[in-house]
């Protein structure tokens, strides 16, 4: 089967974790991509993009000083943007629906929950090639059309399932059940530390 000529793409990986950059690089190289650049945060990515034409960004969310969300917003809306249409695949440990929506509202093209897999990254690259989304400009948004759902996030919507932290109980003492659980987990940790 003849695949796409991914060797012609220039991809920029933006992540503050060197191991994660290396893992994404390995996947891209195996898919045939040869022009791979790396940046350690959003500001570094913009510096790289001012020097080289980039076709696709794979960016982490949590980075300092400029995170992936701010980088995407800058690319989409700043007059100094090197390419306001460049596709951005956002990697994140966040799987909560609200976070995915936040990424979408920043102008991210595809969202990818960690752990990273070769299949999920490849699928998103193919999706960008085959199903490009039109861009939309409104009074408060510029970016890919948000009406088309991004690929679903992986993993359960745990926050929704659990109801999240019960803020009405913030600052209150632990319940009897929680105290018993705390004691058991402390004992378990202690025995692990001894072994």
């Amino acid at each position: 089967m003849m695949g796409y000529r991914l060797d012609r793409l220039a991809v920029l990986i933006v992540d503050d974790n060197q191991h994660m950059r290396s893992l994404v690089r390995t996947i891209l190289e195996s898919l045939g991509v040869t022009q791979i650049m790396e940046a350690r945060d959003g500001a570094h990515a913009l510096e790289k993009m001012s020097q080289t034409q980039i076709d696709l960004l794979v960016a982490d969310w949590n980075m300092e000083p400029m995170d992936g969300l701010d980088l995407t917003r800058h690319l989409r809306t700043s007059p100094e943007s090197p390419d306001q249409f460049v596709p951005v695949i956002m990697l994140s440990g966040h799987t909560e629906r609200a976070r995915v929506m936040q990424a979408r509202d920043a102008g991210v093209t595809e969202f990818m929950a960690k752990p990273v897999s070769a299949r999920s990254l490849y699928a998103r690259i193919v999706s960008i090639i085959e199903n490009p989304r039109p861009f939309v400009r409104t009074s408060d948004y510029f970016g890919p059309d948000r009406r088309r759902q991004m690929l679903p996030f992986e993993g359960p919507d745990r926050r929704k399932a659990s109801g999240g932290a019960d803020l009405t109980k913030a600052g209150q003492p632990l319940t009897g059940e929680q105290q018993a659980a705390l004691k058991r987990t402390k004992d378990a940790i202690r025995s692990m530390q001894k072994s």
Binding site: M1, M2, G3, Y4, R5, R8, L9, D16, H19, M20, L23, T26, I27, E29, S30, L31, D55, D60, N62, E64, R76, S78, Q84, F85, S92, G93, T95, K114, P115, S117, A118, R119, Y122, I129, E130, P132, F135, R137, T138, S139, D140, Y141, F142, R158, R159, S162, A165, A170, G171, P173, L174, E177, Q178, A181, T185, K186, A188, I189, M192, Q193
Partner: protein, 162 residues
């Protein structure tokens, strides 16, 4: 760039598909051979990463942030942010480098912190247990599901965070 549009007006733009032009028209979908090659290369790369060596210093920093929640109360929000960011990164990496328990417990901690800007003694106890559990997991190199020990530990922590 988006702010100069009158409220309610929508402009739809179809930018040229530069990526498609670059990669050529020959492909369609994912090439299964290429995918298999990428999965194999990734598995090999994952084995070479010493996740505990990377995670332990970060978890020590997380433990320090937990201690500061009580000793430096006026900066609790800052310390909670530090804690969240450290654990959030680790939960992302845990699943990729053979430590899904770090992902599971890290997710519990991140969920527990969502929406909290201050904490009391009880919450600090909970946070300390979560960080200590993660430290014990990487120190003991408890890979995969962690067996009975790992599962019981996680079940206890889940009861703790509610």
């Amino acid at each position: 760039m988006s702010g100069d549009k009158p409220k309610g007006a929508v402009e739809v733009i179809h930018p040229p598909n530069k990526i498609k032009a670059r990669v050529g028209p020959a492909g369609k979908g994912m090439d299964p051979n290429l995918l298999a090659r990428a999965e194999a290369a990734m598995a090999k790369a994952q084995e070479q990463v010493d996740f505990p060596a990377q995670a332990l210093p970060e978890l020590n920093r997380a433990a320090e942030a937990v201690s500061l929640l009580l000793s430096d109360r006026e900066n609790q929000t800052k310390h909670l942010n530090t804690l969240f960011n450290i654990v959030h990164d680790l939960r992302g990496g845990g699943g990729n480098f053979g430590y899904p328990l770090i992902t599971r417990i890290g997710s519990m901690l991140c969920r527990y912190l969502e929406g909290r800007t201050t904490v009391g003694m009880a919450e600090v106890e909970v946070l300390r247990s979560l960080v200590d559990a993660m430290r014990a997991i990487v120190t003991n190199k408890l890979k995969g599901d962690g067996g009975t020990v790992g599962q019981e530990l996680c079940a206890g922590l889940e009861r703790l965070v509610g």
